[in-house]
C-alpha cells in the first residue's frame, strides 16, 4: 500500500518546463507534473493522440525535460509500451528503466481498451496511467465512454448523456493485475504516493486519475482544485487502491463510508455548466448511483484497522 507523503517529500526538480500549450488551470498539467516527479528521470513514456500530445508541442520543441517520450497512434498506446518493455527486458535494463503509458479517457475506455486488455493479460511489466477529463477535450468536447450521466457535450442530446460512466478500474480489477488505484488531480500528494508505490511493484499497474477541465466542464480556472475535492467529498469519485486483491480506501475517502458524512451531490453538480440542464429526477438517479457504488465498496473486504 502507498506510504504517507508529506509536502516536502516531493522533489523540487521539475520535469515539466513552463511555457507549454496547456490551458490555464488545467488538471492534467498538475497530474503530469506530479507524476513525473514520482517516476524520476529513468522513464520512457508512450502517449497517444490526446491533450498530452498538445502539451508535448509541435515538432522541434517540447516542454518535457530529461524524459523520453514516444508519440503513438490512438489505439496502440499499451501495445507500444509492451514493445518497449520487451526491448528493455531483452537488453537487461528492465529493473532500471520504468515504462509508462499515459493516455486520456478516450484512449483508454473507448479506443485503447483492446491494447490495454491485451497487455494486462500478457502481464507486461508497465504502469498504465489514465487521466480522465470525461470527454474528448482535445478535439472540442465530444462524448466518450467515460462521460458521466446527464453531462452535456457537443455530441449528446440536449438533456445530457443518458448512460452512466464506464467503470474502468473495475474492468482492470477483473484482469487480476497486482495494482489498481484511483486518484484525483486535487490531491497531488496522493498521486505522488500512488505512482511511487506503482513503480516498486512488478507486473501491470493501472492508475485512474480524475482531471477537472475548466473549458470542457464549464467552470472558472481558479476552481480546478475545489471541483476535484468536491468530486471526492460528495462520494462521486471514491479514491482507493487494490493491491493483490486487498482493497484499501485512501485517506480522503475513508470517512465517506458513512452516508451522512458525504456532502450533497448538488454541490458538485451545480457549479459546472455541463450539468446545467439536470432535472430533479436525474439528480435522484445520481444519488442512487452513488449509493450503489458505495455498496459495492462496502461489500469488499476492507481492512478495518485503518478506519
Amino acid at each position: 500500500m502507498a506510504d504517507k507523503v508529506k509536502l516536502y517529500d516531493i522533489p523540487e526538480e521539475e520535469f515539466l518546463l513552463p511555457g507549454n500549450r496547456m490551458c490555464s488551470g488545467c488538471g492534467l498539467s498538475l497530474i503530469y507534473r506530479t507524476a513525473l516527479k514520482a517516476l524520476g528521470p529513468n522513464t520512457i513514456i508512450t502517449v497517444p493522440a490526446s491533450c498530452l500530445t498538445v502539451l508535448h508541442g509541435m515538432q522541434g520543441f517540447t516542454s518535457v525535460d530529461k524524459i523520453s517520450v514516444l508519440n503513438t497512434p490512438f489505439a496502440t498506446v499499451a501495445a507500444s509500451a509492451s514493445g518497449i518493455e520487451a526491448a528493455l527486458e531483452a537488453m537487461g535494463k528492465d529493473d532500471k528503466v520504468t515504462c509508462v503509458a499515459f493516455a486520456g479517457d478516450g484512449g483508454t475506455t473507448d479506443i485503447g481498451i483492446q491494447g490495454l486488455s491485451g497487455a494486462a493479460e500478457r502481464k507486461t511489466n508497465f504502469i498504465y496511467a489514465c487521466y480522465d477529463n470525461e470527454a474528448y477535450m482535445n478535439t472540442g468536447v465530444q462524448r466518450s465512454g467515460s462521460t458521466p450521466y446527464g453531462s452535456i457535450t457537443t455530441t449528446t442530446p440536449i438533456y445530457g448523456k443518458t448512460e452512466h460512466k464506464k467503470n474502468m478500474p473495475k474492468i482492470l480489477e477483473a484482469h487480476d493485475i497486482p495494482y489498481v488505484a484511483t486518484s484525483c488531480a486535487a490531491y497531488p500528494l496522493d498521486i505522488y504516493a500512488k505512482f511511487k508505490r506503482a513503480k516498486e511493484i512488478k507486473g501491470t499497474k493501472y492508475i485512474h486519475i480524475l482531471s477537472p477541465c475548466p473549458p470542457g466542464w464549464g467552470f472558472s480556472t481558479k476552481d480546478t482544485i475545489k471541483i476535484g475535492k468536491l468530486a471526492v467529498e460528495t462520494g462521486f469519485w471514491p479514491l482507493y487502491e487494490i493491491e493483490n486483491g486487498k482493497f484499501l480506501l485512501s485517506n480522503p475517502s475513508k470517512r465517506l463510508l458513512d452516508p451522512a458524512k458525504r456532502k450533497p451531490i448538488e454541490l458538485y453538480l451545480s457549479v459546472q455548466k455541463r450539468f446545467k440542464r439536470l432535472s430533479n429526477e436525474q439528480i435522484e438517479e445520481y444519488k442512487r448511483y452513488i449509493n450503489q457504488s458505495w455498496e459495492y465498496i462496502k461489500s469488499k473486504n476492507i481492512t478495518t484497522q485503518f478506519l
Binding site: 509536502l7 516531493i10 523540487e12 511555457g19 498538475l30 508535448h56 522541434g60
Partner: protein, 109 residues
Amino acid sequence: MWKIIAESKDKRPKLQNYKNWKELTPIPISFPCYGSMGETGDWRVFRPVIDKKKCTKCGFCWMYCPEGVVQKSEDEFFIIDYTYCKGCGICAKECPVKAIEMKRESEFE
C-alpha cells in the same frame, strides 16, 4: 496577398533549421526548451502577487501550481515567474492564509 506571404517567408522566425525533407533526420525528434509555446505570460488577465508579511512558507502554491512557475527562492520564500505564469488563480484560491492576491494586469505600468 500571396505575394506578401511569399515575401515575408524569410522574415518569419525559424522553427526548424532544415529547408526540405532531404535534410530531415530519420526520426522526427523534439528537444526540450523553455516556452515551447512562446511566453505564455501574455495570456494572463490577473497577476498573482505574494504578500511576504502574511506568507507562512507552507508551499501549497508550489504544490498546486499546474505550470510549475512557483519556485523557492534563496530566502525560502516563494517567487512566481511572470514570464510564463498563465494567471489561472489556483495559488490565490488555495493559499490557506490568503497571502496571494490576484491584481489586474492594467494596474502595473
